[in-house]
């Protein structure tokens, strides 16, 4: 009999389609796994409303579990509580940084419109002398930064609260 713990272990091997260095468990999009009769119910939540990766994530969950013989599966998408970058695991943050994407830093009160841009360290040379080039980057979840010390352009996984 497959346990919930085993399902989590399997899900921890499923990569995010857009940032393959992260697993979907690292990203915090899996909200719960529970036994349901002979099978399992998995609750997921999208990072951004328009995230095109969600359907791919669903089918990857299905195929990863099918390989282990788990086919009796319900995947439910919930919107509330809304996903936040606080749910990215410590290990996920470390992997992002090593991959060249600056992990989210705690930003000041999001209700302030023109709060100062957060200090983001360069994932290459670790200098904190960086500048924001654009609030919007290669995917919905990232902003575009550049390092003033080594001039490396890099992605910043922006804080969403």
């Amino acid at each position: 009999m497959v346990t919930e713990k085993r399902v989590w272990e399997i899900l921890d091997q499923v990569s995010d389609p857009e940032i393959p260095v992260l697993t979907i468990a690292d990203l915090g999009v899996i909200r719960s796994v529970s036994q349901q009769g002979e099978g399992f119910k998995i609750v997921i939540t999208p990072t951004y409303s328009g995230c095109p990766a969600m359907r791919v994530i669903e089918s990857e969950i299905e195929s990863a579990l099918a390989k282990e013989g788990i086919t009796d599966l319900t995947i439910e998408t919930v919107l509330s509580p809304a996903w936040t970058t606080d749910w990215i695991s410590e290990n996920g943050r470390k992997k992002l940084s090593e991959y060249g994407i600056a992990p989210p830093v705690d930003e000041p009160d999001k209700s302030i419109l023109f709060a100062d841009a957060p200090t983001v360290s360069c994932p290459k040379c670790h200098s904190s002398n960086t500048k924001m080039v654009s609030l919007f980057g290669s995917t919905a979840c990232k902003a575009h930064y550049q390092c003033n010390s080594c001039f490396e352009p890099f992605d910043y996984f922006k804080c969403l609260k």
Binding site: Y48, S49, S80, A82, K110, V133, S134, L135, A140
Partner: protein
């Protein structure tokens, strides 16, 4: 008439039509970063519209799904404001349109996230986080263009002169709203009208822009009466579904 269905359409159609407009910038942005920003915002809006349409389909319970609601209605059945269907014009026009909308949408979602309708509240809570980024972006550009060069100032002042008349429709309310407000589901838009005006004025002041003196308003999109621009937009947005019904990719 199903008031809740109608109410959701008004919200989702604003997102869908503005998302479609912004998508027209793809490959045409003034700089690469803005091309990416505008299409990112478009993606957020279309994602939000999908969530609202999925719920509208459940509420309507008439066998139509989100795609059918988005792609297979005729122009009179769209309930977006006339503001969001206005053509992109130049980058300044697009930013003023976006700013007038984002400022409204943020205040609206802040309230809708406490709606008694749990699904509307959940979509609002999710959308709000994205909308804050949109408003920051459009506000910064209005300031930068208004308080920029003589050329940028004059052009964005002209954008404001033209688009200003459409903002009032964002606060349109009728019996649909009244019914849902009474149920604790809908939002009384009058409760944040002053906050909206104060906020918009503060940004315009910083941008050294002056709202036009004539305060007349225009737009009846909430009851399905649109400008000529919506038909053209729909023709492009719907042609694939009209030509190849039920096609998917």
């Amino acid at each position: 008439m199903n008031s809740l269905f109608e109410y959701i359409l008004r919200i989702s159609d604003d997102s869908l039509i503005l998302g479609q407009r912004l998508a027209e910038w793809c490959g045409h942005g003034p700089v690469l970063e803005e091309d990416i920003a505008l299409t990112n915002i478009s993606l957020d809006l279309i994602g939000q519209a999908t969530n609202f349409f999925n719920y509208a389909a459940v509420v309507e319970n008439a066998g139509r799904d989100a795609d059918q609601l988005a792609f297979l209605r005729i122009d009179r059945e769209y309930k977006n404001t006339v503001l969001v269907e206005q053509p992109n014009g130049d980058f300044g026009d697009t930013m003023v349109r976006q700013f007038l909308f984002d400022a409204f949408r943020k205040l609206f979602l802040e309230r809708l996230q406490h709606s008694k309708d749990e699904q509307l509240a959940a979509i609002a809570e999710k959308s709000l986080k994205e909308t804050r980024y949109h408003l920051k972006h459009s506000s910064e550009w209005v300031i930068r263009l208004g308080d920029g060069t003589e050329e940028s100032h004059n052009r964005v002042q002209n954008s404001l002169n033209i688009l200003w008349r459409y903002r009032t429709e964002l606060f349109y309310m009728d019996s649909v709203d009244a019914e849902l407000i009474q149920q604790g589901i809908g939002i009384d838009l009058n409760t944040f009208r002053n906050e909206y005006d104060t906020f918009v004025s503060s940004i315009l002041e910083e941008a050294t822009l002056t709202p036009p003196a004539n305060n007349w308003s225009f737009g009846e999109g909430r009851i399905g009466k649109h400008s000529e621009h919506l038909g053209h937009l729909l023709a492009e947005m719907q042609y694939m579904q009209r030509t190849y019904p039920n096609m998917e990719w």
